[in-house]
Amino acid sequence: MGALEQGFAYGFLVLGVYLTFRVLDFPDLTVDGSLPLGAAVSAVAISAGVDPFVSLLLALAAGFCAGMVTGILNTKFGILHLLASILTMIALYSINLRIMGRPNMTLLGKPTVLDPVTSSGISMFNAAPLLFGVFSILALLLLFWLLHTAFGLAMQATGANRQMITSQGVNTDNVIILTVGLSNGLAAVSGALLCQSQGAADVNMGVGTIVAGLASVIVGETLFGCQSVGRALLAALLGSVIYRLAIALALSLKLGQFSFTPSDLNLLTALLVVAALTLPGLRRKVLRR
């Protein structure tokens, strides 16, 4: 599967991770469960004869609800954000199995969102990157608009200065619940797109999602900067593509006898995130000497 196609498909997730981690300052691991949730919902819906595009909306809604659960656990029940998101993530594993009725589900021969594109004469190889690219840019533009609405400003302030925005009359609980909901809705759309282009949904496809998402956000920020909201959103999306390209590159590397397998990805990604998180600090320390 092409890196570009994956980069754009995961782009939704990465934009969502940007919203929670960066804008809201809410480390949310729910996405490990909501990405396969989106895949499961989309696969089951398409198998039941629902239009593939409509199935994306269903996935979005399902992911939104999952994220809202995390938000509610955190704000209304006072559970630490990280733990709240782990609880939802674990619960989603069971729920995803229930939705599909089995650990995985193929979509071979079923309609997908790619059909209208391929039937217009564009090759299968180009169809997915093109369509997912257009979709993710639309999502980016929507988020850009959202972050500049009054709600969006309140969202940014909730992450940056909760006391200030509460003093301006905003119920930060609601902002958190809606934003974490939106972030997981986006993650679920990623899952739905992936399952349609790969032709299968799997309950385990979400493992390591958050780390990959975070890695993409950080790669984007490092390469393209995040001085403004627009720039940060673009950096997140491009970060997603570059991260997938880097992974593809790593997998094709051969060092004598040794080469990486897809199962090494989580380790590589974790190392990448650790490096990205610690290097700026190290560099500062070195420069100070």
Partner: protein, 264 residues
């Protein structure tokens, strides 16, 4: 009118660290009252303001604003009527948003923050005019991030934000304490000007007794979570710092030398 009835607040209730921060405060504020609050460290001044704003819950008692009991209202709801400026200049504004975005949020205080455009074109002109009043040159920096401003500029901006939508009560907790003397003076004059122009009802905590006597029409001294002095009008005007000290000894008969009580 704002009425505080028998307000009690205990921290760490039932533990060995139990602190009775407010032990039954009763206070009637008339519309347009500008009250200065003094008292030694730990007297309960900040706690009183936090309880009014709703950021600290109360044990018992009532807070009534214009016949409405707001004691059980959450903080965000109370901020429709109550606005505040904190001691920490970083708390009142959002550093990662621009000046105009901060003002736009304040311009919607108490209304819904929905999906309408955050900063409207038509608002920008109004913001410019209001910023120009501050005399800090901020009117030409609408798009600058607030994080770039100095503490004094941020505090002036916070004051503007707190009074953009007229509050029923303005709470000021040592809002000039973190500023250098010159900036503190500027922010204080601005405070006076805004309160006077809008006929605001305000509570201002200060450690400067001279200031407490000069400003406002009423002065309250807290000690050990109680009001131990409440003077207003002519009686207040006739007072000097020495009288305040004397009053204090008379009522409490205790040592009244506190590191932060300034006799300037």
């Amino acid at each position: 009118m704002i009425e505080i009835k028998d307000l009690v607040k205990t921290f760490h209730r039932g533990s060995v660290n139990e602190v009775l921060a407010l032990s039954g405060i009763t206070l009637k504020m008339r519309k347009g009252d500008f009250i200065t609050i003094i008292g030694s460290n730990g007297a309960g001044k900040s706690t009183l303001l936090n309880c009014l704003a709703g950021s600290t819950g109360i044990d018992s008692g009532h807070i009534v604003i214009d016949e409405e009991d707001v004691s059980r209202w959450p903080e965000h709801r109370r901020s429709t009527w109550i606005s505040r400026v904190f001691q920490d200049p970083l708390l009142g504004t959002c550093g990662s948003l621009s000046i105009e975005q901060n003002l736009a949020l304040a311009n919607r205080r108490g209304r819904s923050h929905g999906l309408g455009r955050g900063v409207k074109r038509s608002d920008q002109e109004i913001f410019k005019k209001q910023l120009a009043q501050l005399g800090l040159g901020l009117e030409s920096r609408l798009k600058d991030k607030v994080g770039l401003l100095s503490g004094g500029q941020r505090q002036a901006l916070t004051l503007l934000m707190a009074t953009m939508i007229r509050p029923k009560v303005l709470l000021l907790d040592e809002h000039t304490a973190a500023l250098d003397p010159k900036t503190a003076h500027q922010v204080l004059s601005l405070t006076q000007k805004l309160i006077k122009e809008q006929h605001l009802t305000a509570l201002m905590v200060t450690h400067n007794m001279q200031q407490a006597l000069q400003l406002g029409n009423r002065l309250i001294m807290l000690h050990g979570g109680r009001v131990i002095l409440d003077v207003s009008g002519a009686e207040k005007q006739a007072m000097a710092v020495e009288d305040l000290l004397e009053q204090f000894y008379k009522v409490r008969g205790e040592e009244f030398v506190s590191d932060r009580m300034l006799l300037v």
